[in-house]
C-alpha cells in the first residue's frame, strides 16, 4: 500500500524546463509548488566538472545522461499491420533524466516559430484552399495565437539570455536577421555567437544565391550574462561538448543553471529527486485528478501525494503515457478516428549534405551547440506550395556543433570503412568538412500515433508506450525537395567533393540519431472533440490537470521546439495563478 502524504496545492510531474518555468511564475506569487523528478541532480557530478565532462564515450556514446532504456523504453511499429517490438537501445531521440530534463543536455537552439504556426491549418486553407490539406493530415490550429504568446517568448529570451540577431522588430525587417521571423518587440538580449568557418562559407554561398542567412538564435551565452532574476551565465568556451552534455561553464542556458538553484531558495518550493511518478490519480465521476502515486527510488517506498492541481510537465512521451495509464481522456483510435490521447505524434524530417574543402580549415572542434548559420526561405510555408506535391519545409543551415571524433568524422563517398585508405580519408577530411543540414517539418498523419503496448512493460511493471510511426509520403516528398535546395547551396560553395544528396525516407530508423524533437500525443485546441487540452493547457476531462510540453503541439515545424513550449509554460504559470485564486475552466 502506498503511504499517503499531506495534500499539496500544486504538484508538477517532471523536473525539466517546463516545470521550472511554471514554478517560477507560481512561487513568485507565493503559491506552493512540489516538483517530482524521476532522476537525480547533475550539478556536482563528473558530468558537470572538468576533466570528465569532456568524455564523448561516457556521455554521448553510452548516453550517460539519458533515460535508462533498461528501465523504460518505447516500442515501435512502422504501421498498424506490423508487430511492435521494443527499442532495446534507442539512438534516434534522447529523453533526459535528472533535474533539468532534456533541456539540460540540449544544444540551445532557441527559436520562435513562424507567426502562422499556431494557425497552420487556417493558413494553408486560406492560401491554397481546403482541398490542399490531404485527408490523412489532421493539421489543427492551436486555439491560441503567436501574439498571445509573444510577451512570454520575450520573457523566456531574457531569462535564458538568448544570443541572436532580430530579423523583424514590430513588423520592420532588420538587415542581418531572419526576414521570415515572427515580429518581436526588440533585439535579442545578447549579440550573436561567433560565426564558424563553416558558417562563413555557407553565408557567402547563400547570399550569392540571393538568400538571407542569419545567426541561429542561441542559448549559449557569448558573454557573462545576468538575467532579470539575477541568475548568471558564464561565457561560452566553444568546447564542442554541448548537446548530450552538461555545460561545466554554466554558459548554456538550462533549467538546472538558471531556474532550480533560484527556486530552491524560494519559500514554498520543493523538488523531490528520484521520485518516479507511476500514476496520476483520477476520479472519473468527479472528473478530477486526486493527486499522484510515485515510487521513491531511494527508499523503494511508494507514496500517494494528494494534490489540488496536477501539472504534467514530463517529456513528450511520458505526458502521453501517464494520461493513457491513468485512463484520463479517450485514447485515439486511427480506425474510427475517435479519441484524442496519442494522436498527432510527430517527429522531424532531417537530412544533410556533406561538403569537403581541401584548403579550408573547418576545425569542427571550435564550436558551440547553437552557433549555426541558417536560411529560412524554404521552411514551413515561407515559400509557395501551390505547384508542389507536399506541405511543409525545412530550415537549412551550416551548424557545426562539435568535432567529437567518435561521432563527427566525414569522409567523401566511396571511402572504405576501415584500413589504410579509411585512415587516409579520415585524416585528410576531419578538419576540412562539414554538413549542410535541413531540419524539416513533420506534419501529423492519421496513422502516426501513440498508445500503450499490449505486450511489453517497464521495470515497474507498467505497459510501455508504443509508437506507430513512419515517414509518410508528404514528408518524404518535402525532404527530397528541400535536400536538393540544400545541395544547390553546397554546389555554390564549390567544394572539392560533396556527399550524397538524399532526402529522408522510411523506414524510421531507431539506430540513427536524427533529433530529440518528438511532439504531440496530448494536443491543444479550441475544441474538446479534437484536442486533449484547452488553449490554456487545461485537460478537457479534468479541470485540475494541466499538460505542458511539446506533447501539446498539433504538428512539428522546421524549427527546434523549445521556444514555444517555454512561452506556453510561462503563460501556464500565470494562468495557474488565476486558477488557484478561483478554480474553473479557464
Amino acid at each position: 500500500m502506498a503511504k499517503k502524504l499531506p495534500r499539496r496545492s500544486v504538484v508538477i510531474v517532471g523536473g525539466g524546463l517546463c516545470a521550472g518555468l511554471v514554478a517560477r511564475q507560481l512561487t513568485a506569487k507565493g503559491i506552493q509548488v512540489l516538483v517530482l523528478e524521476r532522476g537525480g541532480d547533475h550539478a556536482l557530478g563528473p558530468e558537470a566538472t572538468l576533466p570528465n565532462q569532456r568524455d564523448e564515450l561516457r556521455w554521448d556514446r553510452r548516453q550517460g545522461l539519458m533515460q535508462d532504456w533498461a528501465r523504460e523504453t518505447y516500442t515501435l511499429r512502422h504501421s498498424r499491420a506490423d508487430e511492435s517490438l521494443p527499442i532495446r537501445w534507442m539512438e534516434a531521440f534522447l529523453p533526459g533524466i535528472g533535474v533539468g530534463g532534456a533541456a539540460s543536455h540540449w544544444n540551445g537552439c532557441a527559436w520562435r516559430w513562424s507567426e502562422y504556426d499556431p494557425i497552420l491549418r487556417t493558413r494553408y486553407e486560406s492560401r491554397y484552399g481546403k482541398a490542399a490539406i490531404p485527408a490523412d493530415m489532421p493539421l489543427q490550429d492551436w486555439g491560441t495565437t503567436y501574439g498571445e504568446l509573444e510577451p512570454y517568448h520575450d520573457l523566456f529570451e531574457q531569462l535564458f539570455g538568448l544570443a541572436g540577431k532580430a530579423g523583424n522588430i514590430k513588423g520592420t525587417i532588420q538587415p542581418g536577421g531572419n526576414p521570415f521571423e515572427a515580429p518581436r518587440r526588440g533585439e535579442y538580449p545578447q549579440k550573436p555567437l561567433e560565426m564558424s568557418e563553416a558558417g562563413i562559407i555557407f553565408q557567402q554561398a547563400a547570399e550569392g544565391l540571393g538568400f538571407k542567412p542569419f545567426p541561429q538564435p542561441a542559448a549559449n551565452s557569448p558573454q557573462h550574462y545576468v538575467n532579470p532574476d539575477g541568475q548568471r551565465l558564464g561565457q561560452c568556451q566553444y568546447c564542442g561538448h554541448c548537446e548530450r552534455f552538461v555545460c561545466e561553464a554554466h554558459a548554456k542556458a538550462t533549467p538546472d543553471t538558471l531556474l532550480y538553484p533560484m527556486l530552491r531558495e524560494r519559500p514554498g518550493f520543493e523538488i523531490r529527486t528520484y521520485a518516479h511518478v507511476l500514476e496520476v490519480g483520477y476520479d472519473r465521476r468527479a472528473k478530477r485528478a486526486t493527486g499522484v502515486r510515485y515510487l521513491d527510488l531511494k527508499s523503494g517506498e511508494e507514496y500517494e501525494q494528494p494534490a489540488d492541481i496536477v501539472v504534467m510537465a514530463a517529456f513528450t512521451m511520458s505526458n502521453t503515457r501517464l494520461l493513457l495509464l491513468g485512463g484520463i481522456g479517450e485514447p485515439y483510435d486511427p480506425a474510427t478516428r475517435r479519441g484524442n490521447v496519442g494522436k498527432n505524434f510527430c517527429y522531424q524530417t532531417s537530412s544533410g549534405v556533406g561538403v569537403f574543402f581541401k584548403n579550408r580549415w573547418i576545425n569542427p572542434f571550435l564550436a558551440a551547440g547553437a552557433s549555426g548559420t541558417v536560411i529560412d526561405e524554404f521552411n514551413n510555408d515561407n515559400f509557395d506550395h501551390s505547384a508542389l506535391p507536399f506541405l511543409g519545409g525545412a530550415s537549412i543551415s551550416a551548424a557545426v556543433t562539435n568535432g567529437r571524433p567518435i561521432r563527427t568524422r566525414s569522409t567523401p563517398p566511396g571511402t572504405p570503412r576501415w584500413g589504410t585508405a579509411w585512415k587516409k580519408a579520415t585524416a585528410d577530411w576531419y578538419a576540412h568538412s562539414f554538413s549542410v543540414g535541413a531540419q524539416g517539418s513533420c506534419y501529423p498523419h492519421r496513422e502516426n500515433f501513440l498508445d500503450l503496448d499490449p505486450d511489453y512493460a517497464d521495470t515497474y511493471g507498467q505497459p510501455l508506450l508504443r509508437m506507430t510511426f513512419d515517414f509518410r509520403e508528404n514528408e518524404i516528398r518535402m525532404s527530397d525537395w528541400v535536400t536538393r535546395k540544400a545541395a544547390e547551396i553546397c554546389k555554390a560553395m564549390s567544394p572539392d567533393s560533396m556527399g550524397p544528396v538524399a532526402g529522408r525516407a522510411g523506414p524510421f530508423d531507431t539506430r540513427q540519431y536524427q533529433t530529440t524533437h518528438v511532439t504531440g500525443g496530448t494536443v491543444m485546441g479550441a475544441e474538446p472533440k479534437s484536442s486533449v487540452v484547452s488553449p490554456h493547457l487545461q485537460h478537457w476531462d479534468a479541470e485540475n490537470i494541466f499538460v505542458v510540453g511539446a506533447s501539446v503541439y498539433t504538428h512539428n515545424s522546421g524549427y527546434n521546439p523549445t521556444g514555444p513550449l517555454a512561452a506556453l509554460a510561462l503563460r501556464l504559470g500565470d494562468d495557474l495563478v488565476r486558477y488557484v485564486e478561483r478554480p474553473r475552466m479557464l
Binding site: 576533466p51 568524455d55 515501435l76 537501445w89 585512415k423 585524416a427
Partner: protein, 241 residues
C-alpha cells in the same frame, strides 16, 4: 604476397610460451608492425596486458581482427599496438558488455534492422558467439580459422560479413560485425585514451583533434579558418587527473 601461413602476435606469444617458437612465429600481421613507418613511443606489448573478458582463442581472433581493420602504416601502428584489442576487451568486460542500459525483457522476436538489435544476448555474449561463428565460417569456407587468413583474405571475409554474405547458424554475422564489432572498433580508435584504445592519442593526432581542455573562447576567433596548433599535441582526460 607469398606468405600464406599467418600467425597473430598473440598466437605467436602463446606458441612461444608453450615452447613452439619457430622461424615463422611473426606472421605478416605482426611483421607489418615492424615495417610501420612511425614506430609508436614504446607501446606496451599486447601480451603484457592481461585480458579480462576474452579467452586466449578469442583474444587471438580479436587481435587478428583489429590488425586487419587497422594495419600498421604511415598513420598508426597496428591495431593491437594502438590498444584496440585491449579497449574492446575492457568494454566487453564492463557495463557495456553486460548489457547496461539495454532493455532485455521478452518476448524476443526477429525484426527489421531499423528496430535495432533484438538479441536476448548481452553485447559480450553476442560478440563471443559471433567470434565462434565467424571462425567456424572461416574454416568452412576458407579452410582456416580467421587469424590464419592472409591479410587480403581476412579483409574480404570481413567485407562479406558486413554485407551479410557469410552464412552462419544462429548469430547473424552482419549484425555482429556492424552493430557490435565495428562500433567498438571506431570507439577504440577515437575514445579518450584512458579507456585503453587510441594509445598515445594516435588517432586524435592523425585527424588533428586537440582533446582537452577545449576552452576555445579565444581560439574560436584566432584560429577560425586556420590550422589549430594544439591539434598536434592532443590531451587526454588522464592528463588532467
Amino acid at each position: 604476397m607469398t606468405e600464406q601461413k599467418k600467425i597473430s602476435p598473440r598466437r605467436a606469444f602463446l606458441l612461444q610460451a608453450a615452447g613452439f617458437a619457430g622461424a615463422g612465429s611473426l606472421g605478416p600481421l605482426g611483421a607489418a608492425a615492424v615495417e610501420g613507418a612511425e614506430p609508436a613511443p614504446a607501446p606496451v606489448p599486447a601480451a603484457a596486458t592481461p585480458y579480462q573478458s576474452l579467452s586466449p582463442d578469442e583474444a587471438t581472433f580479436i587481435e587478428a581482427l583489429v590488425n586487419v581493420l587497422c594495419p600498421a602504416d604511415e598513420y598508426s601502428p597496428n591495431g593491437v599496438d594502438c590498444g584496440l584489442a585491449i579497449y574492446m576487451d575492457r568494454q566487453l568486460a564492463g557495463p557495456y558488455g553486460k548489457g547496461d542500459g539495454r532493455y532485455l525483457r521478452g518476448p524476443f522476436r526477429s525484426a527489421k534492422p531499423e528496430l535495432g538489435l533484438q538479441s536476448p544476448l548481452t553485447p559480450e555474449q553476442l560478440c563471443k558467439s559471433g567470434i565462434a561463428a565467424a571462425n567456424a565460417a572461416s574454416i568452412r569456407d576458407r579452410g582456416r580459422p580467421f587469424d590464419q587468413l592472409a591479410v587480403a583474405e581476412a579483409d574480404d571475409f570481413l567485407k562479406d560479413a558486413q554485407s551479410d554474405r557469410v552464412r552462419s547458424d544462429g548469430v547473424s554475422l552482419a549484425l555482429w560485425f556492424n552493430e557490435v564489432i565495428y562500433r567498438l572498433f571506431v570507439e577504440a580508435c577515437f575514445a579518450d585514451p584512458m579507456y585503453g584504445g587510441n594509445r598515445n592519442a594516435v588517432f586524435w593526432k592523425m585527424i588533428g583533434y586537440p582533446g582537452l581542455p577545449a576552452t576555445h573562447a579565444l581560439d574560436m576567433v584566432r584560429y577560425r579558418g586556420k590550422p589549430y596548433p594544439g591539434a598536434n599535441t592532443p590531451k587526454s582526460i588522464a592528463d588532467f587527473t
